[in-house]
């Protein structure tokens, strides 16, 4: 293949203001990280609540959380996104629907939609991690709390959940990396995040090899960096012998 590589393309003007093509990667990356972080906060909060619900006594709450997981894990992410973007706004009360469609900019609309979509999708996965973490604890941990007069909320808040989270840091890290990678679906609803900006760069400059090479590298480097950061967090929070204790 006789491709003429031209790395200088990134330093050429885009023709839009004073921007050079390289700037698009930075703005795309910022958007990607903002999106992933916002979605992750939703996923972490909702997923924790759902994960706790799955382990509660009784039938109603565990079943509600279970149904949520079944629903959000068994529909493809892209289908979920299109439903949120194209279908749901028409079902919402007019005031909210119109606000989304007319009052705010298309970019803000897309951002909110993808944030909610990623958050709720990932919450189902976080839920299962949290549930596993809680169920991995020896039964005696909760019992020791109850025996001292703690109520169920206190037992979860001070004993069960803090230990469960330490156990599930590695799988949660993978979910966090997933949400960054999954955020690339946003390019399909015209949100200028990293993949969206990469595609636009290709459209403008026709330097598809260079553009995808750099775009890919950025995803890769960001995820690797986060992976190492989370390993450091895991080490800092590690309590000696946390999982070693047994008993009922």
């Amino acid at each position: 293949m006789n491709y003429h590589w031209d790395w200088g393309v990134f330093f050429r003007s885009t023709g839009v203001g004073h921007e050079i093509y390289l700037d698009w990667f930075f703005s795309g990356l910022a958007m990607t990280l903002g999106l992933a972080l916002a979605g992750w906060i939703i996923a972490l909060v909702l997923g924790t609540v759902l994960g706790v619900m799955r382990t509660l006594p009784g039938k109603v709450l565990p079943r509600i959380a279970g149904a949520y997981v079944d629903l959000f894990r068994n529909v493809p992410l892209l289908v979920q996104l299109f439903i949120w973007y194209y279908v749901i706004p028409d079902w919402l009360p007019d005031a909210i629907g119109n606000w989304l469609k007319q009052d705010i900019s298309p970019t803000t609309n897309a951002f909110i939609t993808v944030m909610v979509c990623l958050g709720l999708f990932t919450a189902a996965r976080v839920c299962e991690q949290v549930r596993t973490g809680i169920q991995a604890l020896p039964r005696g941990q909760a019992n020791a709390g109850y025996a001292l007069g703690l109520n169920i909320v206190q037992v979860y808040r001070h004993i069960v959940v803090p230990q469960a989270f330490r156990i599930i840091i590695p799988p949660l890290t993978s979910e966090f990396l997933n949400i960054i990678k999954n955020s690339s679906v946003a390019s399909l609803v015209a949100l200028p995040e990293l993949l969206g900006q990469t595609k636009q760069l290709v459209d403008f400059s026709a330097a598809q090899f260079e553009a995808y090479t750099v775009g890919t590298l950025i995803y890769f480097v960001v995820n690797i960096a986060l992976m190492f950061f989370m390993r450091w967090v895991e080490k800092r929070l590690r309590v000696p012998g946390l999982i070693a204790l047994g008993g009922k």
């Binding site: 109850y146 001292l148 007069g149 047994g246 008993g247």
Partner: protein, 253 residues
Amino acid sequence: MNSDNSAMIRFNQVNKWYGRDHHVLKNISLEVKQGEVVVVCGPSGSGKSTLIRTINQLEPVNDGEIWVDGVQVNHPRTNINRLREEVGFVFQHFNLYPHLSVLQNITLAPVKVRKMSQADADQRGMELLERVGLSNKRDAYPSQLSGGQQQRVAIARGLAMQPKVMLFDEPTSALDPEMIGEVLKVMQNLAESGMTMMVVTHEMGFAREVADRVVFLDHGEILEQAAPAQFFNNPQCDRAQQFLRQVLAPMHG
């Protein structure tokens, strides 16, 4: 509510089944008076642990009444969390919270349940650590302690709530032999301080020296109750005789 005020713990015709067929507690009637130390012994599977766990309702019962200090614990209107504040429980496997330091293990419940200030709870926690001989371990984590040390912390944790009763569910069964003594010593001191105690244990030496009464349980039934001297020297029922032979002289039972 309770006719006999001196009874700190009272079982009245208590029955419990696992499933339909497994009758684990059969017509249990038993009283433990204030300040009394009662040891529960019996072969494994006899229902000892189940029995002691019904007192703070870690195990529910199907039938009968259990009273602690004039409150019926298995009554639907009883606030079970409230009752558990008054009943200390020491587990076979200690069940210390591994993510909290020794002192935090002890102060968690007083602060969160009794709404004690952290400073007061810390002070009381240090006094208790002193009492169990571990004041130098306040900032250690449970996994950095030996089994015997962990169990002493667990006892201090129970005492931090200033309970009226202390329950011990095989407190030395998970310990290496050389650590059993230090835990029993703490328990003996506690008994001498006048604490009402119910202890499930295989430590017959402890039963003989510290208990006021020994209760022998087999197949979910109380077969014998007696003062230790009488129980050990002159057990009445065959099963108790056989059990004592096996426990006291395992190689010749």
